[in-house]
């Protein structure tokens, strides 16, 4: 029984650029003043507004929900403790997403160093298909689900082979559509280095698909 190949479709990015330098409104400014005045519950206002973008960036870079949650927690804690030094002439959203990216990169590096860390199981051999990667759709049967899991595993393996910097730069540029200059600023590197990191990532990912895409051309 053959299953028609289903190609990943590119989803339109339904969120705004997480690093967009939008100005803080009065509620955020007021919340920061209150926190600095001793009212820690006022921090909830900032968390309400920025938790989803922090979690999204954290998930893109770490690749799993548990680590994304850990990064989100650490990010908000670090931002809270650094709040007295926060300059209000920049946007809180930009500031906290930058902290998120750095925290997530650090976590991925720690995970890579920790040999005892149990990564998700990786399929022994990728499956070959006819020039495309097959994935399961919503109504797929058991065989389709198996293919879907295999494709997800293949993608996880390929992403895991990227350095944390490459992964962060690639996911921010390609999945979140953040401009290179902003990625470079967040990662504290030059625009050229950010571009090189993204290009290296794409090149590595392309090679990782070679076994299922019928070899590199």
């Amino acid at each position: 029984m053959s299953i028609p190949p289903i190609i990943f479709s590119r989803e339109p990015n339904q969120w705004a650029n997480p690093l967009s330098n939008r100005r803080m409104d009065r509620a955020e400014t007021e919340a920061i003043r209150e926190v600095l005045g001793g009212n820690r519950d006022a921090y909830r206002v900032l968390m309400d507004r920025h938790f989803s973008s922090v979690a999204r960036v954290a998930f893109r870079i770490t690749g799993n929900e548990e680590d994304a949650e850990e990064v989100a927690q650490e990010t908000f804690l670090r931002a809270y403790n650094k709040l007295p030094s926060f300059r209000e002439d920049s946007a809180f959203s930009t500031w906290i997403v930058r902290i998120t990216m750095n925290t997530a990169i650090n976590l991925v590096e720690r995970r890579n160093r920790d040999l005892s860390y149990r990564a998700p199981r990786i399929a022994d051999e990728p499956s070959a298909a006819e020039g495309t990667v097959r994935v399961a759709d919503g109504q797929a049967g058991p065989e389709g689900e198996l293919l879907g899991r295999e494709a997800a595993s293949l993608r996880e393996t390929a992403m895991a082979a990227l350095t944390p910097m490459e992964r962060a730069a690639f996911t921010m540029r390609h999945m979140e559509e953040v401009p290179m200059s902003e990625i470079a600023g967040a990662l504290n590197i030059t625009v050229n280095s950010a571009k090189q990191a993204v290009f290296r990532a794409v090149s590595k990912l392309r090679r990782s698909l070679a076994p299922v895409a019928g070899g590199l051309r």
């Binding site: 190609i7 479709s9 908000f76 007295p84 504290n188 571009k195």
Partner: protein
């Protein structure tokens, strides 16, 4: 026909190319480059954005709240207390000057150094970079070393330039750390200097990169830099 490098085709597919028209024209004529370009496009489709799981805000807030200390009302209000701080600083400087004069006039002066508590795992690293410029320097060094640590094969030109630039700055910071008697910080920076020197002069062979990587791993340099950097309260200012 001369083929385009993969990097140019990736830039084209990501709409980062400054030469998009010329590349498009080339792809219309060159079957090989068109195939590579399509393969890159397919890769980007496969790794396109997937839905992100929604994390529980309420649970995360409750978990976080327990870890939040109360930032007291005595936090410096940067503008209102500026003059108070300036006068305090002047008072402290005068007091320090009097102490120096007193010591100088009562016998020989020997510089006390802070104990070296934390070189490569012999204890917690308690010394902190007080200068934000050093914190930035450590941050850049950490990124560079992390990148090198994860790089396969010989180093590219940009990495070498970064290493060279950091090496020049590092010498100044080593000197400053020694001058201030901060032995632990000076030791970490000296160790960093040795690795940067190797990076700066490394011949273009994959073998030497492996040797360098091994050296970095065994010396625990990255770990020392991270601890030193993360101790710095002002470090996050660089991320703003």
């Amino acid at each position: 026909m001369k083929h385009l490098p993969e990097e140019d085709l990736i830039a084209y597919q990501l709409h980062e190319s400054s030469n998009e028209t010329a590349i498009r024209r080339h792809l219309e004529e060159c079957v090989d480059c068109a195939a590579v370009s399509e393969s890159i496009a397919e890769t980007l489709r496969v790794f396109s954005a997937e839905p992100v799981p929604k994390l529980d805000l309420e649970r995360n807030w409750q978990r976080l709240r327990g870890n939040l200390s109360v930032l007291g009302a005595d936090q410096p209000k940067r503008f209102g207390l500026r003059w108070k701080l300036i006068w305090s600083a002047i008072g402290l400087a005068m007091a320090a000057l009097l102490v120096v004069v007193f010591i100088a006039s009562h016998g020989s002066f020997t510089m006390k150094t802070r104990p070296n508590l934390a070189i490569n795992g012999h204890g917690p690293l308690t010394t902190e970079p007080r200068d934000p410029a050093i914190a930035d320097h450590l941050d850049s060094a950490e990124r560079l070393l992390t990148e090198v640590n994860n790089t396969q094969g010989p180093l590219d030109e940009i990495t070498r330039e970064q290493a060279h630039h950091l090496l020049l700055k590092n010498a100044i910071y080593v000197h400053a750390a020694r001058e201030s008697g901060d032995v632990a910080q000076a030791a970490v920076l000296e160790n960093l200097g040795r690795v940067l020197t190797t990076l700066d002069n490394e011949p273009e062979t994959p073998h030497s990169t492996w040797r360098l990587r091994l050296e970095m791993n065994t010396s625990g340099l990255l770990l020392d830099i991270r601890i030193l950097r993360q101790n710095d309260d002002r470090n996050q200012g660089a991320a703003q």
